[in-house]
Amino acid sequence: MYNKLKLYVPPALWLLLFLLSVYRFEWIAQWLSFLGPSKGALRARAPLSFYVFQHVRLVLISTFFSMVLGITLGLLTRFRPFREFKEPLLQTATFLQTLPSIAILALSVPLLGYGQAPVVIALVFYGLLPILRNIIQGLDSVPEEVRLSAAGMGMTPWQRLIDVEWPLALPAVLAGIKTSVIINVSAATIGATMGAGGLGVLIVNGIRTMDIMLIIKGALPVSLMAFLINSIFTLLEEQWFGNRDGVRL
């Protein structure tokens, strides 16, 4: 019981800090006032929560589509007409993932223009790569004897996928989603330079005007958000897969 509760401590802590950094920024500003006076941080055009919500929305929407597309594509490679595409897809995803997110974001501008939609599309595309990669590798690494006995016991291909292969690949898929979300949180800040809004706006404006407090105002919540998400996924991994074997990458 105690051990179970202990798992909830890090996410709770990060959540608390995150909320503090959003709703009680004045405290932090006061505490850091020795850094010098803030030019615009405390009387910004919109409240901090506005940028936070913009950021969260950007990440949620793009992660959602990344998941849907990545998982669909990954599962499709298990079916006959698409099986041959598995290797090329995996190779392509691995290759594209080495490219920096900013390159994908920057390339979306000449192709799609400025604003939120192009950034979301770029994030969806970039974020689906780790998911796709992990689902393909996760399904591939289900042990041969498990596959064989599932077939040998008379499971239909569909039952095999749903009841055996998918649950065993799930830890890998979850790890892929985690990578994807964290990448998206980071890439979404860069999206600010392409007119997508979010917390990156504060950081970029802070850098441009040399306003240290404004930088902190944007950078602190976005870092804490990343920590929070990271710890939530760690919690989920422990809760769901802590006591059984699965395919881990």
Binding site: T92, P100, A103, S186
Partner: protein
């Protein structure tokens, strides 16, 4: 049985070949703008300059058709045809851009959706061709190398000079070259320094369980911080210190410029390097170290002759990750006046000049790809123990 009667590539390559034909026929290959400001008109490949475009288009169609009807066994012919397809995609782009804008220094021609599709289809065909030579690593690498050199040869021959990106390049040759080299210096020196610090640090930390766990925790957190956020947060103490102490300022360290960017990249590179060096040391099979002790090696000998050599491939792959990441992250340096390819990209974003964005991004993509591929080869070559 049916193996012998099958035609063409497998499904992947056939899809590529089909898309190749479609891209040449139906999609706008080139975007033409009379000048930098006016909105452009789209040209399909066969619409360009009388016979020229039609000939290119026809050649591409023939390649695609041949790929479909060649017997499945003729894989070498197919590999050659794929290389021809790579050539035609690039060559027809350059030639048609040149003929559209010839003699008109204001007019701009840039890549259209058709070209990008054609490039993607070529990529599909290449990966299918590589798949056909699955047991022949040498030939696979040769295929990649040949397609890359086709690109570079055409580039140096000036075939792409009619393209707007190249026009942009020729206009800003000096700036581009200096920014590109600044980019390389920024990324490589920070990663080099991180390697010099990180690897010995990992050795020192190794087998101190508590410290190791603390480091893994920190590294895990550090890798989670958004890069831009780290860069911004780093400006805070540096800016503060330089405003407070004259010595630091006189060293050239302040909140903006080269150094904060360098330090941010350095810290960011430290994470994967530390992580992999530690993981590499931990991964060495205890049976192997035991065997080394049992033949009479001293603790130091075991460390230097057994543990380090076995951990090196994973360490290098940490450097590979760090350098690939740094190539991308160095773009952000431009935001705080650190220079690099990012200055072109952000200038392009600010001026809505797509050509400028491309001029920054395309070399970046190429650089990242080359770094990753080269260091990847190094890792494979070093990995004699097969630990990866």
């Amino acid at each position: 049985m049916s193996e012998n009667k099958k035609l063409g590539y497998g499904k992947v390559g056939n899809l590529g070949a089909a898309l190749y034909a479609v891209s040449a026929l139906f999609f706008p290959y080139i975007q033409y703008r009379p000048n930098r400001v006016l909105t452009g008109e789209a040209y399909r490949l066969w619409q360009i300059d009388g016979m020229q475009g039609i000939i290119y288009c026809a050649i591409m169609l023939v390649i695609s058709l041949l790929l479909f009807v060649l017997p499945h066994k003729r894989r070498f012919m197919r590999a050659l045809l794929t290389l021809a397809a790579v050539f035609m995609t690039l060559f027809s782009l350059g030639q048609s851009a040149a003929s559209l804008t010839s003699g008109d220094s204001i007019a701009r021609a840039s890549m259209g959706a058709g070209f990008w599709l054609s490039l993607a289809s070529v990529f599909l065909m290449l990966s299918a061709a590589r798949l056909e030579y699955v047991h022949d690593r040498l030939f696979q690498n040769a295929l990649t190398l040949f397609s890359l050199s086709i690109f570079f040869v055409l580039l140096f021959l000036g075939v792409f000079d009619g393209l707007s990106v190249m026009r942009e390049y020729l206009n800003r040759k000096e700036t581009f070259l200096s920014q590109a080299s600044a980019h390389l210096i920024l990324a490589s020196t920070s990663v080099g320094a991180a390697t010099l610090l990180g690897v010995p640090l990992a050795f020192a930390l190794f087998s101190r369980k508590r410290l190791e766990r603390a480091v893994f925790f920190l590294v895990n957190l550090g890798q989670t911080i958004p890069t831009l956020s780290l860069l911004g947060l780093l400006m805070v103490p540096l800016g503060y210190l330089s405003s407070k102490y004259q010595i630091i300022k006189s060293l050239g360290i302040s909140g903006v410029g080269f150094w904060p960017a360098w330090i941010a990249l350095f810290i960011y590179a430290l994470f994967p390097i530390l992580h992999n060096a530690l993981a590499g040391l931990q991964m060495v099979d205890p049976a192997v170290t035991q065997a080394a002790f049992s033949v009479g090696m001293t603790k130091n000998q075991v460390f230097y002759k057994v543990q380090i050599p076995l951990a090196i491939p994973l360490m290098i792959s940490g450097v590979r990750t760090a350098l690939t990441q740094a190539m991308g992250n160095a773009v952000l340096a431009a935001l705080i006046g650190g220079g690099g390819l990012g200055s072109l990209i952000f200038l392009g974003l600010a001026q809505s000049a797509p050509d400028l964005i491309l001029l920054g991004t395309l070399p970046l993509v190429l650089l990242t790809f080359l770094t990753d591929a080269l260091l990847g080869r190094v890792v494979v070559a070093l990995d004699k123990g097969g630990s990866l």
